[in-house]
Symmetry: C2
Subunit: 360 residues, 2 copies
């Protein structure tokens, strides 16, 4: 086949399979349900692959993603507080066809979802989002979680299914995660105890993301987890100790388009391809790793230009050469592509990013 | 009409018209050609509007953008060093139908473009990119620019059309731009003088972007400019002194989805909507301005969550409320949308972002 024009996102199928199997095996071993977050890949085909490996269902952030994944999975969790009528209505409609659960942290959301479910004569499952330290969403105290659970339990159209936590504040290497996860477990356990005293359903306890995924057993209350990035990995999951560079399955293939400025070359991938996301190791680590030139550093991005400092390279790349970049954060990079290129041995084919740009 | 689901990008037509007219009038007054960069809006309809206001042609960054804009404009500048065969071939094909010029800074690019043009029996115009201080692309010395011009001039299939500069390093307020632009003018003038001594065509001298657009007359060699952001404006062009907040025509309309964490609310626009681009005023200024709550601050983004510190707000927004955000950098935000919503008085309609995601 002819060369795929640059920039494009190339995925190593063998590494994806290994990444998927690694976490699926861990979850089987520890009897934890795996509900992959599809925000990372946004592709039905990859969601199907995750289901075939034993996932209990799929996780999504937006309703458009839910509608997309409903074609390949009948058990979906919206890990996002739907509160506006448009989202709630679409979720209630979707619940005619598949199981839909929503993580919420406000009475407003419960009322809005209940109204939509009643209007569509469907049932939406509710998980109460309890903040265990990240400080983004989630009720703050176990008493608030009880109130929220009671309200959901009493709301027609809704079914209380359990708790939702997100230990996103735990970014350190696995060795340092133990104490932090013990605190998460203590708060989660206390909430469950309180709910049980009030006869409420704590059947599902939905936990964590990729960085802490392999430590999920340290929060034994968790019944399922929802990592996303683990399918591809990136510099963030590498620097956070979840994986090594060899586990990074997705690379942006670029062409060097200029070497006119001394000490630099420019690639045809800027912020509209790599995004401006920084990485977990800090700003000084640039905007991605140039695989073939590990001593090069992507120091500045314009929209379509990536400037690489090549002063430490013995033989820097020349104009016209192709290089591969492992991005800081793969998820928003995928969202900028209409397709990723799936390289399986000698065969390369396009996989559509079905839910690309689905913001609502 | 029903409420447009959030997040969405709402454009005030009256402000766009005023922004377009302001710069068109300036260019008419100073007899400078205006060749708007369409990377900002990526819409044929808006490109047409710019042409109707007297633009001499349109600027693009990628070949896909060129192919899109060729439907509404017959004179295009690719402000980007095309070097790979795929890009060069498509440009040469496009040159069968419209005038195509390319800014280059390497012999490699000249050879690749010449070969493609000869293969398609078309002619590509060449502008030689001379670095005037930004240090991204562009030959470093006027002597190098002469060599490059001579090579282009002697290459079959190519037509030397002039010089290309980008004073992107000049980000300060207009009052501080004068000395910097004098230096740009000196280098540009010296290059032109040298080229003329060798009988080379300096007919086009393509200059600057939005921040310095209204100072373009301070580089009197410039025959045309290629600003992009001026159509919408954003916090960057505001902080750089090009405009005021009232000139920011595009806003991301969001819904508050959580207020569970004290001192914060969360909106449904994160890095997949606002991008992680910082602004010209520095990191402490967050990820956008919440128009209705100017004392609020967008302090952290996840992919779909925007966390707003509302501790300085007397009456912070509540869950379910809508707020409008002026982004730091509008161009990559537009590229994340399939359409923008054009509000013209009481009428709101979708304008397709035709060249969204065109990376090649």
């Amino acid at each position: 086949m002819p060369l795929i024009p640059t920039p494009h996102l190339l995925v190593d199928a063998a590494v994806v399979r290994r990444n998927l199997a690694r976490l699926a095996d861990y979850c089987t071993q520890h009897r934890i349900g795996l509900r992959p977050h599809t925000k990372t890949h946004k592709s039905q085909r990859l969601g199907s692959m995750q289901m075939e490996l034993g996932a209990v269902g799929l996780t999504v952030a937006k309703v458009g993603e839910a509608e997309t994944m409903a074609d390949v999975c009948d058990d979906l969790l919206l890990a996002y507080p739907a509160v506006d009528p448009a989202r709630c209505e679409r979720l209630a409609e979707l619940a005619e066809h598949v199981t839909v659960r929503v993580a919420i942290d406000s009475a407003f959301a419960i009322n809005a979802l209940g109204e939509a479910a009643r209007s569509e004569a469907t049932t939406l499952g509710i998980l109460v989002d309890l903040d265990v330290g990240f400080g983004r969403t989630g009720v703050q105290t176990i008493e608030q979680s009880l109130e929220m659970a009671q309200l959901a339990d009493q709301t027609d159209g809704l079914r209380l299914d359990g708790l939702f936590i997100y230990p996103g504040h735990i970014g350190s290497p696995p060795s340092e995660q133990i104490a932090a996860l013990a605190a998460v477990s203590a708060k989660t356990g206390a909430a469950i105890e309180l709910w049980k005293q009030h006869g409420l359903n704590t059947g599902i306890v939905s936990g964590g993301s990729t960085p802490t995924a392999l430590q999920s057993h340290l929060v034994p209350q968790v019944t399922e987890i929802r990592p996303g990035t683990y399918i591809y990995n990136d510099l963030n999951t590498t620097y956070r100790g979840y994986c090594t560079l060899d586990d990074c399955a997705a690379r942006i293939v670029c062409t060097v388009v200029s070497d006119a400025v001394p000490g630099k070359v420019v690639i045809d991938a800027g912020s509209k391809t790599l995004t401006s996301d920084r990485n977990a190791a800090g700003e000084q680590h640039g905007y991605g790793l140039v695989v073939e030139y590990p001593r090069a550093k992507i120091v500045r991005l314009s929209e379509e230009h990536g400037e690489i400092d090549i002063r430490d390279c013995d033989r820097p790349p020349v104009v016209g050469a192709r290089v591969s970049v492992i991005p800081n954060h793969i998820c928003p990079c995928v969202n900028l592509q209409d397709q990723v290129w799936w390289k399986d041995g000698e065969i390369v084919e396009a996989i559509t990013v079905d839910a690309r740009g689905m913001l609502t």
